[in-house]
Symmetry: C2
Subunit: 443 residues, 2 copies
């Protein structure tokens, strides 16, 4: 049963262990007022609301296509090639409307919160009704996502995505007109008209990819973003690079750089197949890279150059993307472990580097979230250290052992959204998901 929880007011939490900027400390008292942390002190006696286990800062899901959740465990027919996946993804996109998307996203964001995510960047491209006709409210789909995030108690960075073409010199076809606005200028006009009144929402923009946004339109998107978060799918598969070089004579990274898309507010999603020159360009422009390891393995994209990017100073972050898996612990350890598979060596990142990737809120335009320190947003994620999975570990080894099922408690802006493994705002998000996904595939 949903319950009312106070947004403001002050509280005190006592954490058995908490991962502070300097490392894991014990007996940590965290005072919270009006949604922000006011005081953090260590070695304190038990007081206030007790949090057994390890309390982490808020975890950021930097790349989400919420509706892909309805594909989980449904794309393995005939062994499940890439084409099985894409055919089902398009079939799903065809069926959604603002009402059903709201219901589905509400369940998905509820699952994210139960798993430990306190914020999500939604890379949103399903804008219009069939054939590309705008809804009566042209922001109906965006509003559905904002409402879903609000219901689920998760922070949302809504990235309104420009998607104009079906490939290099290929028009939108099939369901794709639902994604398009005709021109970048029309996209920008629509985007500018949306300003939801919601405390936990940041608005940003996205270039779907160099395949889907013609080169002449890239600078329009970059200018419209104007300092807000700007995301772009980059070099997820080798074919994109080959097509880009064939059509435009340059790698996707070069094309984006030539048109002002890269920079300190930009996040390149995937960044799987890069040349050395591409990596240097991302580093020089201070562009971030968002890896989506569980999706990149599901889609057979390959293993991205995580350590090579990090060595050049590129900041890394993480997203669950297609939601084949929603588990920030699995996503984070995969950053390290996939790199081990590629390098055939252990010891690629230190655990504080993994925590930094898991909590990177800059990419969402929320620079004051993701740290347990005074002044920061009071987003706290508590993990059971005595579950079958985590029993016997050292606290800062949590990313190698824990899973989504180990999150016991979670606060966003000082609100208790998860308590004792139960979502307090949505009764059983998984029941919502079951109902909505079965309804979608029946329709």
């Amino acid at each position: 049963m949903p319950v009312t929880v106070p947004v403001t007011g002050s509280s005190t939490y006592w954490c058995e262990h908490a991962w502070l900027p300097g490392g894991v400390a014990s007996g940590v008292r965290i005072d919270v007022a009006d949604g922000r942390i006011t005081v953090v002190s260590t070695g304190q006696p038990r007081t206030g609301s007790v949090r057994e286990g390890l309390t982490l800062p808020g975890l950021a899901n930097v790349h989400s296509h919420a509706f892909h959740r309805a594909l989980r465990g449904r794309t393995h027919h005939d062994r499940g090639t890439f084409w099985t996946w894409r055919e089902r993804m398009y079939a799903l996109a065809e069926r959604l409307d603002p009402d059903s998307y709201y219901r589905l996203a509400r369940g998905v964001y509820g699952e994210m919160v139960l798993a430990g995510y306190t914020s999500v960047a939604e890379f949103h491209y399903l804008h219009h009704a069939a054939g590309g006709t705008p809804y009566a409210d042209p922001h109906a789909m965006s509003a559905a996502l904002v409402a879903a995030a609000d219901d689920a108690g998760i922070r949302l960075c809504l990235l309104d995505t420009c998607y104009l073409a079906g490939g290099f010199d290929v028009e939108l076809r099939g369901v794709q007109p639902r994604f398009g606005d005709g021109t970048a200028e029309a996209w920008a006009e629509r985007v500018t008209g949306f300003s939801p009144r919601a405390d936990h929402v940041v608005l940003g923009a996205a270039v779907h990819s160099v395949r889907a946004v013609p080169e002449r339109a890239l600078s329009v998107v970059a200018e419209c973003a104007n300092g807000r978060p700007l995301h772009v799918h980059l070099s997820e598969q080798r074919a994109e690079n080959e097509d880009s070089v064939r059509a435009l004579g340059r790698t996707p990274t070069r094309v984006l750089d030539d048109n002002g898309v890269l920079g300190p507010n930009t996040t390149a999603v995937h960044a799987t197949h890069l040349t050395n020159g591409d990596m240097s360009t991302l580093a020089r422009s201070r562009t971030r890279a968002c890896f989506c390891p569980t999706t990149e393995r599901d889609l057979g994209d390959g293993i991205g150059p995580a350590t090579s990017l990090a060595e050049r100073g590129v900041r890394l972050c993480l997203g669950s993307d297609s939601h084949a898996v929603i588990d920030p612990f699995e996503e984070t350890r995969a950053l390290e472990l996939n790199d081990r598979l590629a390098a055939e060596a252990r010891g690629r990142f230190a655990v504080d580097e993994l925590l930094a990737a898991a909590t990177a809120h800059d990419a969402l335009g929320m620079p004051d979230a993701g740290r347990l320190e005074p002044g920061a947003r009071a987003d706290l994620v508590t993990v059971d250290l005595r579950s079958p999975r985590t029993a016997g570990i050292e606290a800062d080894g949590v990313f190698f052992a824990a899973g989504a099922a180990d999150v016991t408690d979670l606060l966003v802006a000082g609100r208790a959204i998860v308590r004792d493994r139960q979502h307090r705002l949505i009764e059983r998000p998984h029941a919502v998901l079951t109902d909505e996904i079965e309804r979608l595939w029946r329709s």
Copy 2:
């Protein structure tokens, strides 16, 4: 609180869905008597003990070093190289005795059962007291493992491992004398003397590796195995191959084949770095390959040639090995998903091929387990299909979505070992693990 459950007697189970040899069926009635399935019928009305969700055949963990569980979440210091891991693994081996190993293994096997494993092959090499001195009962360590498995209600294939050298022409050193018996003949004599009276135990043998068993000793082990399960670590890392070629002029696979170690009762564990000739040799000799994907990524071993082996007819099975992760669903999907990462393509195995790998009991000398059909052992694993992770999936997509936390009920030989996610024979195996692992690292 441990409770007494009847070993014999007859029962009827009604499964919402069950994965039968022909695929997933609904409304499945499974009748059980004296530990075996007597009747399976589909499309039946609810009756007997109801199992909501999907019921799978028993899942086999074909490769385990139980004591490595105490390393989970504890080998990431200084980034955690291979040497960090090995140094800690040896430190741990040094501390164990029959009493502490019994307590630790009891918790580990309890965790396995909670995660859905109904049987385990223990690749056991920690035989003797410090310096290699036999215990008063020379089988004290083996007996500890048998007792632990019995307590946990899991079937055990105990692979007594021959371990004679620290490398090619290198003596045992440090803690390693605890693993050794001096000669293969002495190993065989000790092995032959052990015959526990335990219903759920199969005895087998293992060659640690071509590094640890000199070539002249290999045939002694193979002869001693004499048709029982025989396992061997094979080509986990490239260095083993290079050392083998340098020392013996042949790949490890060739060395094993030349000495009668390969064959239909043999399981090659890892099989990560193989030549085409090696793969043909495994196929021709009808040797199985046991992949341990979550360990192979943890140790940076690399991605083994799963599809190449399968195409040649080599039967695949799976193990959790070092127990960095104990989750048969994660292990099984990683067989598919790591192959996608290597191939940069989806659709490597069909779901029934994944099920076959997850349930392969031949490698444990238990050919009548791992299938839901009349005459088979009554090992049943029921998975929640409406958890946050599994909500909305198709039942046969379970290996892509479920996790250890989704196992609700589990029977071994008709005994209910897990009920409503609780172990019925060990109260909270994770509490056992926490206590024992903390004690071991303190000592």
